[in-house]
Symmetry: C2
Subunit: 259 residues, 2 copies
DNA sequence: CGGCGGCTTGAGGTTGGTCAAGGCATGTGG
DNA sequence: CCACATGCCTTGACCAACCTCAAGCCGCCG
């Protein structure tokens, strides 16, 4: 693990933080107002904690599962496997994300999830999950908005893969990654440690690994980004955003989602 | 409009049907058990009805909106526009689908939605929507599962666009379209009227219109499908499913989603 | 120190986009 | 009722883009 990755991870491993600082609770609160009782219910559900090693499959496509997992710290990828050996990464998972959404909302998981770093998770059974939603409708409503945000991210990835040029896809991927990492305190104003290898980036945006490399080189050559190991610096955000038609509003809470 | 399209539409325009036969209610019930009071609350919300002409934009990317719309009858597409004139269709909308998911769960709509046929909709304000979820947690829970299903569809479209061959994408698109149309009574066992033009199919799967035509011809040549105007007949479902790695389980309710 | 995973670069070949022209069906207005 | 316009499907030729394969290299970890 690179030094920067290690450093950013540590930020999220703090034990015994206040419940309202938990990345999952922060994310939910952005979507609907949660009162004291909501927080208490969440604290109960997020009590237990479990650790996962880097590289481990948390969820395997086609297999049964007992509930959902919420990420406290660490990064993962959610992906589908193709018979002929290919792989499509549909999303990267950061602290506060739900490992089992939407894969576990089926009898058998429809996607796999693999840990990119050491992770800590909270495991929740479906019964506990449904109970929580029944008891605290505000949380259920926040989860609907959370799901809408997740679906939007997929839709934007689809737009990238379907209709954007390789260079635009890479630019978009970098900008989205940065906004999301910054939101959970894992990036500075203009730099972050890319958790994915170039081959994985290819699997996320629908390109071959060599072509990802060429596109990154081109962005470097144009002076839009700088790279040093896994660390990416954004040098000209305005130009990148125009190139990728990137508007971060699909990633962030908005006032109408705070009823 | 083709005769078959007209015929299938009529099925869903029946007025004054029982609330539990409404396609939206059917869809929700598949995800969570709804009791008599849940149905009553839904009936109240689905009371008003509004008609939309073929070709009209129901929702426009970047604009404000007042709530969400639920489709009673007719078809639509949800899409994103690119600055240089391109378009990516992220989903097709059928009876029972929510026009504004996830586009309207933001200050300004993040996608556009256009009617492919004459449609009838139920308009619901966000206040009414949130009130419904607060009052009837079972409905909120069903909506979370509904959102998970929607997100899964996007993820599968992403897998198509990112990592499957043109022929596989078209095969997958046809099979998904058929399963979804059949679920709302708009397809027979092995045939349906394709609501999209070949250009639109290209915008959905990330291909050019001429190439969509070539791929359809190839499927015809291999004896997997037959086409007559807009009507598509599936001649060899097994071969199509293998080609597309299609497993309809991501589209349908499963037992674990019926708590 | 040795091995391995991932990055980098190059050459060559196929795929699928672009452009263009023609055909067919539908609908419309004279 | 016919002429025309329009939109969509169909086909072909050409060419750029991006994949595949391959080899070398670097840095990290065991």
């Amino acid at each position: 693990m690179s030094p920067l990755l290690a450093a950013t991870t540590v930020v999220n491993v703090t034990k015994n933080r206040a419940i309202e600082d938990h990345p999952f609770v922060v994310k939910l609160s952005a979507h609907a107002p949660l009162d004291r009782d909501d927080l208490k219910a969440l604290a109960r559900v997020l009590k237990s904690r479990l650790s996962v090693k880097k590289g481990k499959d948390i969820l395997v496509q086609g297999y049964e599962h007992n509930g959902i997992d919420i990420i406290e710290s660490g990064f993962a990828i959610r992906y589908g496997l193709l018979h002929k050996g290919g792989r499509q990464i549909v999303n990267t998972l950061l602290p506060g994300d739900i490992v089992g959404f939407p894969a576990s909302f089926y009898d058998r998981s429809i996607f796999s999830v693999m840990a990119l770093t050491k992770m800590t998770l909270h495991s929740i059974s479906f019964d506990a999950f449904v109970g929580l939603c029944k008891e605290r409708p505000s949380i259920a409503i926040a989860l609907i908005w959370f799901a809408a945000r997740e679906a939007s991210i997929y839709a934007y990835h689809l737009i990238d893969a379907g209709r954007r040029s390789p260079l635009e896809r890479i630019a978009h991927f970098i900008l989205e990654m940065h906004v999301r990492l910054k939101a959970v305190g894992c990036a500075t104003e203009n730099a972050f440690a890319m958790p994915l290898s170039q081959e994985s980036i290819g699997d996320a945006v629908g390109l071959s690994a060599p072509h990802v490399n060429r596109m990154l080189s081109e962005l470097k050559g144009e002076g839009l980004i700088a790279m040093e190991g896994h660390e990416i610096k954004i040098l000209d955000r305005a130009a990148l955003q125009i190139m990728a038609e990137f508007d971060p509003s699909y990633l962030v809470r908005t006032s109408s989602s705070r009823r």
